[in-house]
């Protein structure tokens, strides 16, 4: 059913465009009498324009025809917008893969790339099979129930509002075909899952991560999504999250935090006296490239979440998004400079991401100056957060917890402070700083806490099951040699002999069962 609709609307677009143009020209030039001839002329001018709307419209009522054509055209433009922005969000997978592999050691590059690659495939299947149904199917305030499997429920897209008849009514506000809705939501689900990868990097078993991703996208993410975007209890409570600071980033961040805690730090990360040993990533160039890709992808993430080509909204959201990223990068560079003595590039990169994550929830509801403030705050916050988690011995190689959890929660709360009713009347109302009182902020806080509790418990449960069944951490010897050989039997850079300049300190702890091989055994064995 949906497939046919896609074909129809594709044909309708061309027909609609041509017919609308014709009608417009005729109305302007010759008035109603001339326009009434249009149905006879249109097929001659555009033989392909056999769209049903044209045939159905009464020749006596050109305005109705015009209206039908305008609606068709809007559906087409909105669908193109939604899909194009979804493709940008898909591209963010490359960004994550680059950032994470760049910020880790060369000996673990293959396994990080493999995780980031399969996670989108896993997400695609899990979200298609059941995730979308749980998230957007009509059901209880906690869980979608109808049309659960493979989007099998009745659907009336692209009709909107009251006109929509189907079981995915939480998405009835956007006038695009169901598959466009699905695809757009899918790339978001994939993002939430891929966030976990960075925090558990360099020690998690590939198979354990693989299975966890299914649970993440098939269950954990869609349940939270149902609460907030699927008409669930948080939505009814007046909690707002425009593009997913909480739904996507905090959910990913919490699962990442629990994973990192349960795995424990990488070998050599902390000295016996508790000293923090930095473990430099192998390619800051790759990391920088990845952050540029993510920043670019965010222009799909936030402006695309309008799910309609609404000119005023998408232009402003593009600017709030960009401004927050800029503020985050500047604030992080200044704070790192003051605090650490050097403008650490990895902190600046995380700062831009922090700004982007923080503005994701409020991007449609706040002014551009507010977005700058939010970006500044997030950029400063992420530096402090990275240092904090290092101190408390949560080893997060890429800073995923600080960027996605901490700044996701911050951005969600910032919405309660900075929201202004004028931007999206009848939604958030005004935040605390704009005279709206604490009501919105309290709803936001409730959401942050509830989502945190749920994801922490659910992720803890799944990681525990995996830990009991198959183990989630690779053996110490494999970790020292690098997971590329142990997990995948291939090295990322077989023609380079990669001895770290900072020596062998990382291999020093005598936790390895049997003789720990120090140095570059990976390369020796690889040959």
């Amino acid at each position: 059913m949906t497939r046919r609709r896609v074909a129809d609307s594709g044909r309708g677009w061309w027909g609609g465009a041509v017919a609308a143009l014709l009608v417009g020209v005729m109305l302007t030039a010759g008035g109603a009498a001339l326009a009434q001839d249009k149905p006879a002329e249109a097929p001659a001018a555009a033989p392909a324009a056999a769209a049903p709307a044209v045939a159905a419209a009464s020749p006596a009522d050109p305005l109705k025809t015009l209206e039908a054509k305008a609606t068709d055209l809007k559906v087409a433009v909105d669908t193109v917008w939604v899909l194009a922005t979804a493709f940008l969000v898909f591209f963010m997978n490359l960004g994550f893969a680059s950032v994470e592999s760049g910020f880790c050691r060369a000996k673990n590059t293959v396994t990080i790339l493999a995780k980031n690659f399969v996670v989108f495939a896993v997400s695609s299947i899990a979200f298609l099979a059941v995730g979308f149904g749980i998230m957007f199917g009509d059901g209880t305030p906690l869980f979608g129930a109808q049309g659960l499997w493979f989007l099998g429920g009745a659907d009336g897209s692209p009709a909107t509002g009251e006109a929509y008849k189907g079981v995915y009514s939480a998405l009835n506000w956007t006038g695009v075909p169901l598959w466009a809705k699905f695809f757009f939501q899918l790339v978001f689900a994939g993002t939430a899952a891929t966030i976990v990868s960075g925090a558990v990097a360099e020690r998690v078993k590939f198979g354990a991560f693989y299975l966890f991703s299914f649970a993440m996208v098939g269950l954990i993410y869609p349940v939270v999504g149902h609460w907030i975007w699927g008409g669930g209890w948080l939505a009814k409570l007046g909690f707002w999250d425009f593009a997913g600071s909480t739904v996507v980033h905090s959910v990913g961040g919490w699962a990442a935090l629990i994973g990192a805690v349960m795995l424990g730090p990488r070998l050599g990360k902390y000295g016996k006296d508790g000293r923090v040993n930095p473990i430099p990533g192998h390619s800051i160039a790759l990391g920088t490239l990845g952050v540029f890709v993510l920043w670019f992808g965010w222009f799909g993430f936030n402006p695309g979440s309008t799910m309609a080509a609404d000119p005023g909204a998408i232009a402003r959201i593009a600017v709030t998004t960009n401004t927050a990223a800029a503020g985050g990068a500047v604030a992080a560079s200044v704070v790192a400079w003051l605090l650490l003595g050097k403008p650490d590039l990895t902190m600046i990169l995380n700062g831009a991401l922090a700004g982007l994550v923080a503005i994701t929830a409020p991007c449609a509801f706040v002014s551009v100056p507010s977005s700058l403030v939010i970006g500044f705050a997030a950029g400063a916050l992420v530096v402090l957060s990275v240092l904090f988690f290092e101190r408390v011995h949560v080893d997060d190689p890429v800073g995923a917890v600080s960027v996605h959890l901490v700044c996701g929660a911050f951005g969600t709360l910032a919405l309660g402070l900075f929201a202004q009713d004028q931007f999206s009347p009848g939604t958030t109302g005004n935040g605390l700083l704009f005279g709206g009182g604490t009501q919105l902020l309290r709803a936001q806080l409730t959401g942050v806490v509830a989502v945190g509790l749920f994801v922490a418990v659910a992720a803890g449960l799944f990681w525990s099951i995996l830990s009991a069944v198959m183990g989630i951490r690779v053996p110490a010897e494999e970790e020292l040699e690098g997971l590329d050989l142990g997990e995948h039997g291939i090295s990322a850079y077989p023609e380079f002999h990669a001895a770290p300049a900072w020596g062998t300190g990382v291999a020093a702890p005598a936790v390895a069962p049997g003789p720990a091989r120090v140095g570059t055994p990976a390369v020796e064995r690889g040959r």
Binding site: P278, I279, K342, E390, A501
Partner: protein, 112 residues
């Protein structure tokens, strides 16, 4: 024959090469190495933590020359690689027993 191994600062390679080719030395081998002497390492920063880079990147130039050229080449390298700052590197000279040119089978100094 003498084998001369010079561990030098990477940016001095061109100066050393020109000094040697100017003196008629026909070939040399260069490898990227890491190490430390009195210079020790230096500290770098990563995500808020300092770490020590003990083994600094250097280049090792190896040249084999007839005995009578040994002193001259040693002096040329020492002059060309010198900046006067700590970390300029070292030159080691060892007697060399044998050499062979693989293509022709020539041996000894005629293989150089």
């Amino acid at each position: 024959m003498k084998k001369i191994e010079a561990v030098i600062k990477p940016f001095k390679l061109d100066d050393v090469k020109e000094a040697l080719t100017g003196a008629g030395i026909a070939g040399m081998t260069v490898s990227e190495v890491r190490g430390f002497g009195r210079q020790k390492g230096h500290t770098e920063m990563y995500r808020g933590g300092e770490y020590t880079v003990d083994f600094l990147p250097k280049l090792k130039v190896e040249v084999v020359v007839p005995d009578e050229l040994g002193e001259k080449v040693l002096a040329l390298i020492a002059a060309a690689a010198k900046t006067g700052a700590i970390g300029d590197g070292k030159v080691f000279v060892t007697p060399l027993q044998e050499a062979i040119r693989i293509r022709t089978g020539e041996r000894g100094e005629s293989a150089l």
